[in-house]
C-alpha cells in the first residue's frame, strides 16, 4: 500500500502545525459558544448540538496533532539519538527540529484537551 503520508516533511512550517491547530481550535470553541449563546434564540438547534460539534472539532484537532507528532517523531529518527542535537551539521539540525516539533505537538495536545474540558461541564448558556 502506498502511504498517504509524505516521505519527508522538512520545512520550518511543520514546527508550527500543532500550535496552529491548537490556536484554531481555541478560537473555534470560544467563538462558536459565544456566538451561539448570544443568538441562541435565533437558532433552531440546542446547545448540546454545539457541544457535540465542538467535540468533533476537538477529535479532529487531536488527530491532526497526533499526525504531526508522528511526522516529527519520524524526523527525530524515532528517538534514536539523544538531545540536545547541537552539532552544526545538517543531520543535527533535522533531528533538533524534529524533537522540538514533537515537544510542541505534546504541548498542543494537552492544551486542546484543556480547552475542551469545559465542554463536558458547561451544559447551558448563562448570562
Amino acid at each position: 500500500m502506498k502511504s498517504v503520508i509524505p516521505k519527508e516533511v522538512e520545512s520550518l512550517w511543520t514546527l508550527f502545525t500543532a500550535p496552529t491547530v491548537w490556536a484554531l481550535h481555541f478560537v473555534g470553541c470560544y467563538a462558536a459558544v459565544a456566538i451561539y449563546c448570544a443568538k441562541a434564540a435565533s437558532f433552531d438547534f440546542g446547545f448540546d448540538t454545539v457541544r457535540l460539534a465542538l467535540g468533533g472539532l476537538t477529535v479532529l484537532a487531536l488527530v491532526v496533532i497526533v499526525l504531526s507528532a508522528y511526522l516529527a517523531w519520524r524526523q527525530w529518527g524515532f528517538g534514536s539519538g539523544d538531545p540536545p542535537h547541537d552539532e552544526p551539521t545538517r543531520k543535527d539540525r533535522t533531528l533538533f527540529q524534529g524533537f522540538a516539533t514533537l515537544l510542541l505537538a505534546g504541548l498542543s495536545f494537552v492544551a486542546v484537551v484543556y480547552v475542551a474540558i469545559p465542554l463536558i461541564f458547561i451544559a447551558e448558556c448563562q448570562r
Partner: protein
C-alpha cells in the same frame, strides 16, 4: 484601617531572615487565629456559595502542602547524594514529575473547578429572579434599590443590604462611574460591577448575622473605604421591614429644617420629607444603619458631625462638598437628627 498592623511595624529588621524560614509554620496558625473567622472571612462561610469557595481553598491548600513537602523532600534527598543515579533515571524523573504529573494535576484541578462552578455561582434563569436587589457601585458608596415582582423600584437605600436568611437573594450589579466589584466574603465569590452592564449574582445566607462586604476592584482614592453591610434576617422580619420601608410616612423633626435649609436635600433623599436628591446616598432610616459613609466610620453622632463638616478629610476624593463653614450648632443638630432618623 489605614497603615500597617502593629506586628508588621514593630518587627525588628534583623529578625527578617529567621522569620522567613519559620514563615510557613507561623503563617498557618497565625492565619487560623486572625482571619479565619469573623464577619468578612471567606474561610468562615455563612452560606452554600461561600462554603464551596472555602472548600476549594482548603483542597488547594492541602494539595499545595503535599506537593511542597514532596519537592522539599526530593531536594533534601538530592542534596545528600548518598546514591548515584544514572542520567537516564534523572530524565525519567523530569519527564514524569516535571511534565506528566503536573499535566494530570492541572487537568484534575481544572475539571474540579469547572464541576464546582454551578454551585459557587448558581445560575438562576431571568424569570425566576424575582424581587431583585439592584446594587450600583458609585465612587465610593453603594446605591441599593429593592425591586418588586414586576421589576419596579420599591424604595432605595444605601450602603446596607438586608436579605432573608435561607432564601436566595438575587442581586443585579451595576456601576455608575468606574468598575467596582461586589464582594461579601462570608457569602460567596466576588462579582465585578461594570458601567453599562448588569451582572447577576445570587447569594444565600444560611446563618442570621451581619456580614461585611467590600469593593474588590480599585476604583479611586477612597476605594479602600468603600464597604457595606449585609444583614441576614428572618424572612418574616424581612417582609415586615420591606413593608415598613415601602410605606412612606411624613416626618418632622427639629434637625430636618436645618438639613433642608443647608441644601442637603439636593443630593440626599429622605422619604416623607422634601429632601429628594438622587446624587448621594438615600438617608431614609439612616439611624438604623450600622456604619457611616460606606463603612468608613462608626455610626455615632460625633462621627456624623465630623463627616458632614469635612467628608474629604475622611474619604479623599469623596463626591460630597464639605460643610465645615456651617455653625457648629447646625452641624450638631443635623448629626443628632440623622443619628435618630428611623
Amino acid at each position: 484601617m489605614r497603615g500597617k498592623g502593629p506586628t508588621e511595624a514593630s518587627r525588628p529588621m534583623g529578625s527578617g531572615l529567621r522569620s522567613l524560614k519559620l514563615c510557613p509554620f507561623i503563617l498557618l496558625p497565625g492565619l487560623s487565629l486572625s482571619s479565619c473567622s469573623g464577619s468578612h472571612s471567606a474561610l468562615d462561610p455563612a452560606g452554600p456559595e461561600a462554603s464551596y469557595v472555602a472548600h476549594l481553598f482548603f483542597v488547594m491548600l492541602f494539595g499545595g502542602i503535599v506537593i511542597w513537602i514532596a519537592v522539599v523532600a526530593a531536594l533534601i534527598y538530592a542534596a545528600r547524594k548518598k546514591r548515584v543515579h544514572s542520567e537516564e533515571s534523572a530524565g525519567r524523573i523530569i519527564l514524569w514529575c516535571g511534565a506528566i504529573l503536573p499535566t494530570l494535576v492541572l487537568g484534575a484541578l481544572l475539571s474540579y473547578g469547572l464541576w464546582m462552578m454551578p454551585a459557587i455561582r448558581p445560575w438562576v434563569p431571568d424569570e425566576q429572579q424575582v424581587r431583585r436587589i439592584e446594587v450600583t457601585g458609585e465612587q465610593f458608596w453603594w446605591r441599593v434599590r429593592y425591586l418588586d415582582e414586576a421589576g419596579e423600584v420599591m424604595f432605595e437605600t444605601a450602603n446596607e443590604v438586608r436579605i432573608p436568611v435561607g432564601e436566595p437573594a438575587h442581586f443585579s450589579l451595576r456601576a455608575a462611574d468606574v468598575i467596582h466589584s461586589f464582594w461579601v466574603p462570608s457569602l460567596g465569590g466576588k462579582m465585578d460591577m461594570i458601567p453599562g452592564r448588569t451582572n447577576p449574582l445570587t447569594l444565600t445566607a444560611d446563618r442570621q448575622g451581619t456580614y461585611r462586604g467590600v469593593c474588590a476592584e480599585f476604583c479611586g482614592q477612597s476605594h479602600a473605604l468603600m464597604a457595606f453591610t449585609v444583614r441576614a434576617v428572618q424572612p418574616e422580619a424581612h417582609e415586615t421591614w420591606l413593608a415598613e420601608r415601602r410605606a412612606s410616612k411624613p416626618l418632622d423633626a427639629e434637625g430636618l429644617a436645618v438639613f433642608l435649609n443647608n441644601g442637603c436635600g439636593a443630593c440626599h433623599a429622605i422619604s416623607g420629607t422634601a429632601a429628594n436628591g438622587r446624587i448621594g446616598p438615600d438617608l431614609t432610616a439612616f439611624g438604623e444603619r450600622g456604619t457611616l459613609a460606606a463603612g468608613a466610620l462608626p455610626h455615632t453622632t460625633e462621627d456624623i458631625a465630623r463627616f458632614v463638616a469635612d467628608p474629604g478629610d475622611i474619604k479623599p476624593g469623596v463626591k460630597m462638598p464639605h460643610f465645615g463653614m456651617l455653625p457648629e450648632d447646625d452641624i450638631n443638630k443635623i448629626a443628632a437628627f440623622l443619628k435618630e432618623l428611623k
